[in-house]
């Protein structure tokens, strides 16, 4: 099914682009925002920006979970690694700089940092090893559901979770509500919506009178989502549209939701660059406190001393682009990243740097 010509057919893509051209001719210049690193990756990988109409700006909002993981969270993981515990995490997180170092730096200095593909593998590691294994769990709701699943199973006692999981819809609210943000509509993340359903976006629509279209990740899915979104902007329609029905339903995936909310609760927290987002940080509930690394360990982190020109925050909030940053391509490159937006494969700065934003 993947890569089946249906989802990547160049002819159909061309016709969808033509439709977008016609629509944008009607609406005039408009700016829509997606909130998903995988959407940015899909757009960049297939070179879609090189064919989208001039007047349509597709900006990336706070959708890269690596990029919005704040420095203190990375510092906690690094501190645990330096304290001699095995830290297992997804590949995306290993090179993200903390206040003093990244997990990769810690590993180079002798700490035990392991890349895992799945939460299940982190548990397997704990079963294999005699020492503490901390799973540095990043990602949004899509990824939090697997973490919740392994915790519900009762993993070994030497296993714990350092949760950096976050929940997207409230961040869309904050971004939409920010006086400096100009956005005419949102392309919402299809895989997160696979878990949560489309209901969480109703609030965004009501409060901000903006259309939200839930989109998938094959290039034609992205183009379809954009067509629907621009149509809504043209018509002044503020509703939630599901443009990814093969994976998303209104109510979402009840089994995954049950697991998710049994283990996690939503609390306020800081997202890099957006500062405080209410109810968008996922914390392990009391019932699972025994596996919460923050409660198990006494973690000391360096003072958060941010004296840098890095504008990851502005970029994450969709208020600036990578090329607006004074460090972009100079002090901050994929080899020597300053901010998470350059480290993460889904970071807007990294993607612009690698794919060149060719138009």
């Amino acid at each position: 099914m993947t890569g089946a010509l249906e989802f990547r057919d160049p002819d159909r893509a061309g016709r969808l682009v033509d439709r977008l051209e016609a629509l944008v001719a009607d609406t005039g210049p408009l700016r829509v925002m997606h909130v998903c690193g995988s959407h940015e990756e899909a757009i960049a990988e297939f070179g879609l920006r090189s064919v989208l109409p001039e007047g349509l700006t597709v900006a990336m909002g706070p959708g890269c979970p690596v990029c919005v993981t704040d420095l203190p969270e990375v510092d906690e993981a690094v501190a645990l690694a330096k304290a001699g515990h095995t830290v297992a995490t997804y590949g995306d997180m290993v090179r993200v700089p903390g206040t003093e170092s990244s997990l990769a730096d810690a590993s180079a200095a002798g700490a035990n940092v392991r890349t895992v593909y799945s939460a299940g593998e982190a548990v397997d590691l704990a079963e294999e090893l005699d020492r503490e294994v901390v799973f540095f769990a990043t990602g949004f709701e899509t990824t939090a559901a697997p973490t919740a699943t392994v915790l519900r199973e009762g993993p070994p006692s030497n296993f714990s979770v350092l949760s950096a999981h976050k929940y997207v819809p409230p961040a869309m609210d904050v971004v939409a509500g920010h006086p400096d943000t100009r956005v005419d509509g949102f392309l919402a993340a299809g895989h997160a919506a696979t878990i949560t359903g489309t209901d969480p976006f109703e609030g965004v629509v009501e409060r901000h009178d903006l259309p939200v279209v839930v989109g998938g990740f094959e290039p034609l899915d992205v183009l379809l989502g954009l067509v629907r979104l621009v149509e809504d902007v043209r018509d002044g329609t503020a509703t939630v549209t599901n443009a990814y029905p093969r994976c998303v339903s209104d109510a979402g995936n009840p089994a995954a939701q049950a697991a998710l909310w049994e283990v996690f609760e939503r609390v306020p927290g800081e997202w890099r660059g957006i500062a405080e987002v209410p109810d968008a940080t996922l914390r392990i509930r009391e019932a699972y406190a025994g596996y919460d690394a923050r409660r198990r360990f006494d973690i000391e982190t360096p003072d958060d001393d941010r004296t840098t020109d890095c504008i990851c925050g502005e970029i994450m909030a969709g208020r600036a682009g990578p090329e607006d940053c004074p460090l972009f391509g100079e002090e901050c490159t994929p080899q020597n990243p300053v901010g998470a937006c350059m480290v993460s494969d889904e970071g807007p700065c990294r993607i612009t740097r690698e794919y060149g934003g060719r138009r």
Binding site: M1, T2, G3, A4, E6, F7, R12, R15, L16, D18, R19, A22, C36, G37, S38, G63, C64, P65, Y90, Y117, S118, A119, G120, E121, G139, F140, T142, T143, A145, P146, T149, V168, A189, G190, H191, A192, T194, I195, F217, L220, D221, L223, L224, V227, R228, T241, A243, P245, R246, C247, N253, P254, A255, A256, A259, E346
Partner: protein
């Protein structure tokens, strides 16, 4: 966020299924797939967990949606 890749279920064993991704086979967890699964079904895999069953008829539906959007028809 969220790399999700569809794979075809070849075998089911308790809370795990062996899924085929264009010839690369991998065992994935199906605890929270949210649906009954049979061999031959397609599932969306994220980080080693199936998070959704993808109904075959929805693939056709998707192609219809692409067509409607390309021609300016209203979504049915």
């Amino acid at each position: 966020m969220c790399l999700g890749i569809p794979g075809e279920v070849l075998e089911i064993d308790g809370q795990e299924a062996r899924a085929d991704f264009r010839g690369a086979e991998k065992w994935v967890r199906i605890d929270v797939v949210g649906d009954d699964l049979s061999v031959g079904d397609y599932v969306l895999n994220h980080a080693g967990f199936a998070i959704r069953k993808i109904p075959e008829e929805q693939v056709e539906r998707t192609v219809e949606l692409y067509e409607q959007a390309a021609t300016g028809g209203e979504p049915g």
